[in-house]
């Protein structure tokens, strides 16, 4: 099975800004507190989101299927602006789902190099954003959060069809990248915390899209070797003799 030892970031510097968009659709799950929800939206209960102050609505708000094209009525950026929570803290995460037009692009992301690259690039991004030392993203980047463990279980995760809350079993979903193919046909990035301003949240989602597109371009472009099975005819007669004495 795929190995954790391949957890080595890929250098995507040259591909940054050159890669075309290969992400087909986006889904976002926002955790936090809302003074007032946008019309037609409903929260999902999430026991991991905790506020000590009174907040009108607490939980998780999952988007529908969103578009990557700016200007589309279902563009992810517009949805984020309308639905961003009014209150966030270190217990809140922002999970981003990405889907692709072909299984091949998904297959290419099924290497430990992908979550390793996502981590590496977000470390640089967080520095560039000037996030404080005590910002929850550092805790997640350091591998201290049990909700986004630095582990790689792609082959096991793609078979998960149900959502369970076991954070220890082999193939659980609480990893930096959860390969949620069996349930949503997406890869889910669980690394990001909620940010206190919608613009920063939007920049974080855009960064994930940029990393993913650059990663797909940076992978070696060699044609994948076919796995070949061959078996020769064995027509040699096996002789078995059974002798019975009477």
């Amino acid at each position: 099975m795929a190995k954790q030892k391949d957890w080595i970031p890929l250098n995507i510097d040259k591909q940054r800004g050159k890669a075309r968009n290969r992400v087909y659709r986006v889904g976002i799950e926002l955790e936090g507190g809302w003074d007032k929800l946008a019309p037609g939206t409903r929260l999902v209960h999430d026991g991991s989101v905790i506020f000590t102050m009174p907040v009108n609505a607490i939980g998780e708000l999952p988007s529908g299927v969103l578009d990557t094209v700016n200007g589309s009525p279902t563009y992810w950026g517009s949805w984020l602006k309308v639905n961003h929570p009014h209150h966030v803290n270190h217990t809140c995460g922002m999970h981003v789902h990405l889907s692709f037009k072909t299984a091949f692009a998904y297959n290419k992301l099924m290497t430990a190099q992908y979550p390793a690259t996502v981590l590496q690039e977000f470390k640089q991004w967080a520095k560039k954003e000037g996030l404080d030392e005590d910002h929850p993203i550092w805790y997640r980047l350091a591998g201290k959060s049990r909700y986004c463990q630095h582990k790689f279980f792609a082959d096991e995760q793609v078979l998960n069809k149900e959502k369970d809350h076991n954070q220890d079993r082999a193939g659980h979903r609480y990893t930096v990248i959860n390969y949620a193919y069996g349930r949503y046909s997406t890869v889910e990035c669980r690394l990001l915390p909620m940010f206190d301003h919608v613009d920063r949240s939007a920049r974080a989602v855009q960064e994930l899209l940029d990393i993913t597109n650059a990663f797909l371009l940076a992978l070696p472009d060699k044609r994948e070797r076919k796995q070949h099975i061959e078996h020769e005819v064995d027509s040699e007669l096996d002789r078995v003799e059974t002798r019975i004495y009477v």
């Binding site: 099975i229 002789r239 059974t242």
Partner: protein, 177 residues
């Protein structure tokens, strides 16, 4: 079985060639068998054929406008074969994933290796049959799949298709009074 009833196939001929490659459609599988293999599989039933879609929705033709994949219907379902590793192989899951990992009664991981692609109609003709299997895999999982299918086919071939001659000799034993 008398020797003259055993079909002699020249040694060195290829009985099965399978190639697996990750593709836009998931996993592209190409299967080419020796005519004796297809004839053997066909002989497990009456020769009746079925659309693969009727049994499972993982296998698809390479393109939507290609003719549907057809498989031979089995008369009786053969028992799954156990491999030395504890894994099992079978040919009763047309249209399903090629490898299904399960836990056995002791909680140990056991793989079900699906050789049902041998039942596809036309595997011995021309270039054989090429089709897509829905799903995504790491490269390492694909390598493991190749090894498991290779092992399973060897067992399947030895169990069902390798010629064997069994002689039973009845002798009187010497007795002393």
């Amino acid at each position: 079985m008398a020797d003259d009833l055993v079909e002699i196939v020249k040694r060195g001929e290829t009985s099965l060639t399978v190639s697996l490659v990750r593709s836009a459609g998931g996993l592209t599988v190409s299967v080419k068998t020796h005519p004796t293999v297809e004839a053997f599989i066909q002989g497990l039933g009456s020769g009746e054929q079925m659309d693969v879609k009727a049994s499972g929705n993982y296998w698809r033709p390479l393109r939507p406008d290609h003719p549907p994949l057809m498989a031979y219907v089995l008369g009786d379902n053969p028992q799954p074969l156990s491999l030395d590793s504890g894994d099992v192989c079978e040919i009763i899951r047309v249209g399903h994933p090629l490898i299904i990992d399960r836990a056995d009664i002791n909680g140990r991981k056991q793989s079900q290796i699906n050789l049902s692609f041998l039942r596809l109609v036309g595997t011995s003709e021309g270039p054989g049959v090429t089709f897509n299997v829905r799903g995504v895999h790491t490269y390492e999982a694909l390598t493991r799949m190749r090894e498991l299918i290779g092992e399973a086919y060897k067992r399947f071939y030895r169990t069902y298709m390798k010629p064997v001659c069994m002689n039973i000799v009845v002798s009187t034993s010497e007795t002393s009074v």
